[in-house]
């Protein structure tokens, strides 16, 4: 079933179609939520809120080709709302960022999995050391694969600015990763 038909069935109230759409997009939505909140449980709850929003607003996405940008926009808005709410009422306990990266382990050798987790942890930390706008551009461009024009529209920035920022943000990320790897290496040696 192609995406256009799937969306049409979802709009018509077909529960199975909705389940399929959720299964197809849940990892992406969760990934976006994790990028913003960096906590597994919080991202999980936030993903549910995002899907409720998506379900309520399915009529707003008429064109299947525009579904991905639409999904990312809704997810991003929900994450920003959530962060605002959290800023107004901070949680009782601040959960360490490391916990956020305990994802479900696939069938991999423990060493490989540990290495992968370590790599992810470093990239996540580097990502969060970037400025908010640079982090969002990497999220939208390199993580979600949106077109530069779409990102410019979403962030309300000129296309040229998004282009140059995208390039700078990547370099900033690479340098932050290098810095963290240097720190990790020094710690390991010590």
């Amino acid at each position: 079933m192609d995406l256009a038909n799937l969306l049409e069935s979802c709009r018509a109230g077909d529960e199975l179609a909705w389940e399929m759409l959720v299964r197809q997009t849940q990892a992406r939505v969760y990934g976006i939520a994790m990028t913003y909140v960096r906590d597994r449980d919080e991202a999980r709850d936030l993903s549910q809120d995002i899907f409720v929003r998506i379900y309520r607003n399915l009529d707003g996405c008429k064109d299947a080709d525009r579904f991905l940008p639409w999904l990312v926009r809704i997810s991003r808005n929900a994450c920003i709302d959530h962060l605002r709410r959290r800023k107004a009422r901070p949680p009782a306990r601040d959960i360490p960022a490391d916990e956020a990266l305990r994802l479900v382990a696939p069938d991999e050798a423990p060493d490989e999995e540990m290495e992968r987790q370590a790599r992810r942890r470093i990239v996540e930390t580097a990502l969060h050391s970037l400025s908010e706008i640079n982090r969002e551009i990497i999220l939208l461009k390199d993580m979600q694969g949106l077109a530069l024009e779409e990102i410019a529209r979403l962030l309300n920035l000129p296309l040229g600015t998004v282009k140059s920022r995208s390039s700078r943000a990547r370099l900033e990320l690479a340098k932050a990763v290098q810095g963290l790897m240097g720190t990790a290496g020094a710690e390991a040696t010590a």
């Binding site: 990892a27 969760y30 999980r44 709410r85 992810r120 995208s166 700078r168 340098k175 990763v177």
Partner: protein, 296 residues
């Protein structure tokens, strides 16, 4: 250095390139054998070139770049950042690769960037446990039920979401405080405020003691009770007074509906006109005015 030396030097490149013909080659070799200066020059360029290419060339290039354009790492970094988009022209890619072949720092940065972006793409869709979908479907099923319930639950949902959004904004507390202050000033603080005497009475109550407070509370309760009773009685009277008008309005509405079903539009128009008259009459009776001309 004479004209023969000048002619000999002009042939030097061709000799080194192996493209010298027989006559020129004979002249080139005979002059090199006879002239010490040109022989030394030939030895120098023939013997030192391979060594220069193997060991000295990179250092020489670095030195030349340092005293001319300066290091090209900045430009290479700009291209590195744009390279993942896949839009770089072939020439620029070639230049970048040539730089990366010789600049260790930029090569390492390029490797780190590629690895980081690969990990970023992995982070886009993390693996999830089996209950994740179930939790989402459970969360959306409540919404689905409300969506099917009609416009009112949907409106309530939207209002709830709007209110949550408002309450989540950091400035919400300030706005509520401002609005409450305005309301308090309007209630108590202006010469036309309905409760302008309340603060003075409250002060008097505090100063006078509990007996006065009990009397005042009794008085206020009595006034409020009497007021509510009067309002109830007034509403009942008005309802009785307008009962025939409401019956007429209902009857004309039904007749208009029935005529509409039968396609009798003349009757529909007449009945709607009559219903309009009923409404005017109802309003006048409710207000207890002199009845205006009402058509039936």
């Amino acid at each position: 250095m004479n004209t023969r030396c000048t002619a000999w030097e002009a042939l030097l490149d061709a000799y080194l390139g192996g493209s010298l013909d027989g006559r020129d080659a004979a002249f080139f070799q005979s002059h090199a054998a006879a002239c010490d200066r040109c022989r030394d020059l030939l030895r120098l360029v023939s013997a030192d070139l391979p060594a220069l290419a193997g060991e000295e060339a990179p250092r020489l290039a670095d030195s030349v770049i340092a005293v001319t354009s300066g290091p090209a790492c900045g430009r290479a970094e700009a291209l590195l950042g744009a390279r993942p988009d896949g839009n770089l022209p072939a020439d620029e890619l070639l230049l970048l690769q040539a730089h990366l072949d010789h600049c260790r720092a930029c090569a390492e940065l390029a490797l780190t960037l590629d690895a980081a972006l690969a990990t970023v793409r992995e982070l886009a869709e993390p693996e999830l446990d089996a209950t994740f979908t179930y939790d989402i479907l459970r969360a959306t099923s409540a919404t689905r039920a409300r969506k099917r319930g009609g416009a009112l639950p949907r409106l309530a949902d939207r209002l709830g979401a709007w209110w949550q959004g408002q309450a989540a904004r950091p400035q919400f507390a300030w706005e509520v405080a401002f609005a409450a202050t305005v309301v308090l000033v309007l209630l108590f603080g202006t010469p036309l405020s309905p409760a302008r005497r309340a603060p003075a009475r409250a002060l008097a109550a505090v100063q006078a003691g509990p007996g006065w407070m009990i009397d005042t509370a009794g008085e206020l309760t009595g006034i409020a009770g009497a007021g509510i009773g009067a309002v109830q009685q007034d509403v009942a009277e008005r309802r009785n007074r307008t009962a025939p008008d409401r019956a007429d309005l209902l009857r004309h509405g039904r007749e208009a509906g029935a005529a509409l079903l039968h396609g009798d539009f003349d009757t529909v128009a007449q009945r709607l006109q009559a219903a309009g008259g009923d409404l005017t009459q109802l309003w006048n009776d409710w207000r207890d005015d002199e009845p205006a001309a009402a058509g039936d």
